[in-house]
Amino acid sequence: MEWNLVLPELIVTGTGLGVLLLDLFLTGGGRRAAGYTGLAGLAAALVAALRLMPAAGRGELAGPFWQGMVVGDQFAVLFKVLFLAVGLVVLMLAVDFVERRRMPAGEFTALILFAVLGMMLMAGSRDLIVIYLGLETTAVASYVLAGLLRDDVRSGEAAIKYFLTGALASAVILFGMSLVFGGLGSTGLPNASALAEALAGAGPSAAPAVPSPLLLAVGLVLLVAGFGFKVALVPFHFWAPDAYEGAPTPVTAFFSVGPKAAAFAAILRVFAPFLVMVPVSGVEGKALALLPSIFAVLAVLTMTVGNLVALVQRNIKRMLAYSSIAHAGYILVGLAVATPRGLAAVTYYLLAYAAMNLGAFAVVIWLNNHGTGDEVDDYVGLSQRAPLAAAALVVAFISLIGIPPTAGFFGKFYLFMAAVEANMAWLAVLMVVNTAISVGYYYAVVRNMYLQPAAEPGARAAGPVPATPLVGTALSVTLVAVLALGLLFEPLARLAGLACGGL
C-alpha cells in the first residue's frame, strides 16, 4: 500500500530521468519524442493517482507513512490529480512551441516533470521538511524554465527576477518554518483537532505539547509573507508581471496555474488547522486569531490592485499576469473567512481557475505559434481570421469573469456564499465590485476580436490559423473542463469539503 501511494511520484520521477537520458540520442525533428515520452509518463501517473481516489475517499491511506513524511488523504490525492492534469495540458501546449522556438526539448520536458513532482510532494505531506523540499524542487525547476529561451534577452531577465525574488521568498518561508518548528516542537504539522488539544495543554504527554505559541504565531506570519511572494499577493507581487511576460508562453501558463495552486495547497495544509481551530485564550491565542484578518487585508489589496492595474495593460501575457494576481485575491477570501466551507471553496476555485486560465493561455499559445503577437492590439479582427480561436478565448474569459454556467461562476459563487455565511458580507461585496472591474480588461480583448475591423488584411499577422492536434486537444480539454466543473459543481464541492475536512 505504501508504494502504491507514491506511485504517481515514482512514475513522474522515472519519466523525468528517462527523458534526460533519451534526449542524448535525439536529433532534429526526433526531439519531439522527448515531449511525447513526458506526456505518456504524466498520463500514466494521472491514471495511478485517479486509482488512489476511492481508497483515499474511504480514508484507508490517511495513516502516517514513512514517519508521517507522506500522507494520502483525499486532499493530497485530489491535488495530485490536479497537478498531473495541469502538467499534461501544459506539455501538450508546449511541444509545438518548443520545437518552433528551438528550445531544448529534453530539458524542457524533464523540468516540467520535476516541477510537477515538487508540487505533488507539497500537497502530499504533513511535514515541514517535505513541504520545503517540494517547494524548492518546483521553484528551482521553474527558475530554469523561465530562462529557457536562451536567445531572448527578456527570457533571461524574467529568469533572474523570478530567481532573486523566489530565493528571497524561500529564505523567508524557511525562517518562518524554523520558528514554527521551535514553537510546535516538531516538523510535523498537526491537524485541527490535535492542534486544539496541544494548544490547550491537554496533549497526551505531560509536558506542554506546544512549547511556545508565541514563536508559532511569529513564524506563521513570516510564512504568510513568504507564501505571499510565491503566489504573488499584493504587496509581494512586483516580480510576477515581469516574470510572466518574459518567460516562454507555455511556461507562463504553467507558472500562473501550477506552482501557484501548489503553493495554495501548502498554505491550506499549514494554515487550515490554525484557521478553523477553537479560540485559545491569552496573548498567544490573540496573535493566532489575527491570521484571518491578515488574509482579509491581503485579499482586498490583492484583488483590487490586480484588477485595477490589469485595466491598463497592453500585453496580453502581462494582462493575464495581473488577472492571475486578482484571482489569487479571490482565493484568499476563502482563507479569510476561516470556516471549513471557506477552505472547500478555495479548493474548488483552484480547480476551476486551473481549467479556465489554461484555456485562455492555450489560445494565446495557439495564435503565437502562427505568428500573432502578444499585444492586445494584435488581436484586432481575430474573429474573421480565426473564428474558433476567438470563440474559445471568449469562453475562457466568460469563466474568468464569472458568468454562469461556467466553472468560474460557481467558484466565485461558492466563495461568496462562504463569506456571507461567516458574516463577512463586506468582503463578498468587494469581490463582486472587483469582478465588475475585471469585465473591463477582458472585454477590451473581446471588443478587439469582434468589433474592431482588421486595419488592413494581413497587416499584423497573415492567414488562417489551423490548430495542431496537440494544441487543439489541450484547448478542448480545458474548455470541456471549464463547463464540466461548472455542471458537476455539487459533487465536486462535496469532494472539496471532504478533502478539506481532514486538514
Partner: protein, 102 residues
C-alpha cells in the same frame, strides 16, 4: 550550555542583516550572497531549537542539512542564470536589467 535565546537572537540578527542586504544591493551576485546569509540564520535557528527541544531533536538537525543541500542547488542554478544574463547584457546589476517595465 548556552541558552537557546542567545542563539535565536543571533539568528534573528543574522537574518535581518541578510534581508537588509538582499533588499538594498543592486548586484545580483551580492543579493545571492545575502540570501545565503539568511539561510545560515535559518540553520542556526533549527540547530538551536533542536537542542532545546526534548523530543524531535533530530528533525531540526536533519532540516538544517537539507537546507544546506538545497541552498547549494539553488546557488548553482542562480549563478547559471546570472551568468546567462551577464553574457547577454554585460551587467549583473538588477537596476539596469529593466527591459520589461515594472
Amino acid at each position: 550550555m548556552i541558552d537557546v535565546q542567545y542563539a535565536v537572537v543571533l539568528g534573528v540578527l543574522l537574518f535581518g542583516v541578510g534581508l537588509f542586504g538582499a533588499l538594498r544591493s543592486t548586484n545580483a551576485v551580492r543579493i545571492l550572497m545575502c540570501i545565503e546569509l539568511m539561510l545560515n540564520a535559518v540553520n542556526l535557528n533549527f540547530v538551536a531549537f533542536a537542542r532545546m527541544l526534548p523530543q524531535g531533536s533530530a528533525a531540526g538537525q536533519v532540516f538544517a542539512i537539507f537546507v544546506m543541500a538545497v541552498a547549494a542547488a539553488e546557488a548553482a542554478v542562480g549563478l547559471a542564470i546570472i551568468l546567462q544574463v551577464v553574457r547577454q547584457r554585460g551587467v549583473a546589476h538588477v537596476d539596469r536589467i529593466n527591459l520589461l517595465k515594472g
